[in-house]
Amino acid sequence: MTVSAAPAEAILEESRGRRRRRMRGTSEARAYGLGAITAVYLLWALVPVAITVLFSFNEGRSRSTWQGFSLRWYTWDPTGSVLNDESIRNALSYTVLLAVLATIITVPIGVLFALALDRWRGRLPQGANFLALITFVIPEIALAIGLLFMVTYLATPFGLGTWAQVVGLVTFQLSYPIVICRARLLTIGSHYEEAARDLGASALGAVRRIILPMLFPAILVSAILVFADVLDDFVIVRYLSSDASTETTSMRIYQTARAAPTPALNAMATIILVVSALVIVLGWLAYRRWTRKQGESTDVSSLASTL
């Protein structure tokens, strides 16, 4: 299926110089063409969002006609602004709360899961791995409805609301830390741990002092991913929410986007955007610091390819 590289390379050497010049010309043209496509794509992907952010600063209540810059929808509008509309404030703080809770629970479980999968061989862990991957690709609505039915028809220790939402989110997000940490564990290999054991570390100590620190970048990345993804989650939180106190920003956008939105909705969305951007940037800086210290590569693509 792939062109075999070795003989090709051998034959090439002589003809290279001859062709290189011509090639550079077409290749540059191609680069510009592709670059233009990429630029257009990025504009298309990001400008609408930028406009949404822009209109959160609109003076009037229109979301399409610019009426002057103002912080009205953030602060001073007496009923509609983010600051003065309690339901918007609640949605914001609740969204962050959910994200924190889900991240705190998901990441340790996921890491343990990955460690367990890395150690044990056999049918059971294989099946578990399969399940974990399935939760990665299953339509979210399936999990959400399943949990909704379970909470409604089975006697569960928790009802609809925060805990149901957290359980759903954790289940859905668990695959991130598992996949990412497993990949990392595979590259680490087993010899570090063996060396530590040889030097007299206990099994637990070896994991704690050697493996976990080496795993830290992967843990960090998965935590960021989980956090950012939970901030945006809609399907699970909506089906498992109970009342207005468990309403997140995404639910709020869904409910009001077509009803009677004011730029305050844009303002709320902007704030969530800023929160997730902050977390990502902070996480990224921490990741870089850590990997620098450990003398490892900090290529963005290594992050991307783990996705």
Partner: protein
């Protein structure tokens, strides 16, 4: 019905529905904890006979209240009204459950201020339609205190033991309510409910986008089958309203019919509507029409009144129009407030009901939501004169006499309800 069914949709499914009722013993055992022990009595019928049966025999037929069959609902044992003279719960969160934008937020704030001594917090949760609301209330996982409902859910609320009878001593403001709503047919002696607002269902539009007087058509409902307006119009996201409107359009008057032929014809007409005018299905006409996303929509009478405040700058609110049958022979209904049994603050909930019936509060709420409360202090004739309703929307005023001639949307027996749901689902699946 004179004509044979064009496509008998429902026979088989009716059979299926009744077949489902057969393993009733098992099903009932499973949900026994949710069934009250007695069926409703009153209206002269003897449904209470099954009271002794409980979990072993099939429950009595759902008692269906209607203007010709007023019902006094039973009070289930263990669900007596709260005692008189109790203090409202302190530091409580009063949970309201309602449509979005169906209650003025300023009124909620005022209520919190009024009860500041008790440090009351009000939480406003929303549903998209009544079936969803009933499902969630019944799941029992959220302790809502007060909900806003329509009488076509009354029997199920009582049967399911979901609502709490009222102690009238907490609600003196009932005195200002129209006489007929102090003893309504859907809840004789207002044991469980107080009225909230009254409304008709009709057609709202923007005169600058629809250059025609819809009301002048021989059959105004035909506008929804007019391909001229394809992509600009909407019907309500409510099965009963759309099916009811379709029946009226085809010359029927029984919007609660169980007749398979009528329902089959209505279904076919609705599918025809889908392909002719491609309506959207939404309850947000009150913002979509002012903003011009829609030009015309089936809507409730309050929608266009409240719609005035959603007009974009630069458009004159007087372009809004509303039509419903001027003789009152259309869908005329009312919603009520009730206290849910699962709520944690029954006393405060009573106070809230009473607060909402206060004429000043009610007026303030009315001027925001656009739906008219049935209060003596607010006579239909004075509403236009006093400026609550502008001249161009005079058709949105609900007249008391319309409750004599109009068609209320009643509760349906479960198997008929299933039929309506099936039609609705087919409609919503698109064509």
């Amino acid at each position: 019905m004179p004509s044979p069914p064009r496509r008998p949709v429902s026979r088989r499914r009716l059979l299926q529905a009744s077949a489902l009722a057969l393993p009733g013993a098992w099903a009932l055992a499973a949900c026994a904890r949710e069934q009250p022990l007695s069926g409703p009595t009153g209206g002269g019928s003897s449904a209470g006979g099954s009271a002794s049966g409980g979990a072993t025999s099939a429950p009595a037929e759902l008692q269906i209240a209607s203007p010709t069959n007023p019902v006094k609902w039973p009070i289930n044992p263990g669900n007596e009204p709260i005692a008189s003279g109790l203090e409202p719960e302190a530091n409580a969160t009063l949970r309201l459950y309602n449509y979005p934008d169906y209650l003025d937020k300023a009124v909620i704030k005022d209520f919190q201020k009024e009860y500041a001594d008790y440090n009351v917090k009000v939480e406003y949760s929303t549903f998209n339609d009544y079936p969803e609301a009933l499902t969630k209330i019944r799941s029992g996982s959220i302790p809502y205190d007060v909900t806003f409902m329509s009488y076509n859910y009354m029997a199920r609320l009582v049967y399911g033991d979901l609502i709490r009878p009222l102690n009238h001593e907490y609600i003196p403001n009932i005195a200002d309510v129209w006489e007929e709503f102090q003893n309504p047919w859907y809840d004789q002696e207002w044991q469980y409910t107080v009225p909230y607002v009254i409304y008709t269902t009709g057609i709202g539009w923007r005169a600058d986008l629809i250059p025609e007087d819809i009301g002048a058509r021989p059959n105004p409902y035909d506008v929804f089958w007019d391909s001229k307006y394809a992509g600009e119009i909407a019907v309500l996201d409510d099965d009963r309203e759309v099916i009811g409107m379709t029946i009226l359009r085809d010359g029927g008057t029984d919007v609660n019919t169980a007749d398979p032929a009528t329902l089959g014809a209505a279904r076919d007409a609705m599918l025809e509507m889908l392909s002719l005018s491609q309506p959207r299905v939404t309850i947000s006409g009150y913002t979509d029409i002012p903003e011009g996303v829609l030009s015309l929509s089936q809507c409730w009478s309050g929608d266009m009144i409240t719609g005035q405040s959603y007009m974009p700058e630069g458009v004159d609110p007087s372009v809004l129009r509303y039509w419903s049958p001027p003789d009152g022979r259309g869908l005329v209904n009312s919603d009520f407030l009730c206290v849910l049994k699962g709520g944690e603050n029954p006393v405060l909930a009573h106070h809230f009901l009473n607060y909402m019936l206060d004429s000043d509060v009610s007026l303030k709420n009315f001027s925001w939501v656009g739906y008219q409360p049935p209060l003596r202090s607010l006579t239909p004739d004075s509403m236009v004169a006093d400026g609550y309703i502008p001249e161009n929307l005079a058709g949105a005023v609900v007249k008391p006499e319309w409750f004599e001639v109009g068609y209320p949307v009643l509760e349906l027996p479960p198997e008929v309800e299933a039929e309506y749901q099936a039609i609705w689902q087919q409609f919503k699946a698109g064509a």
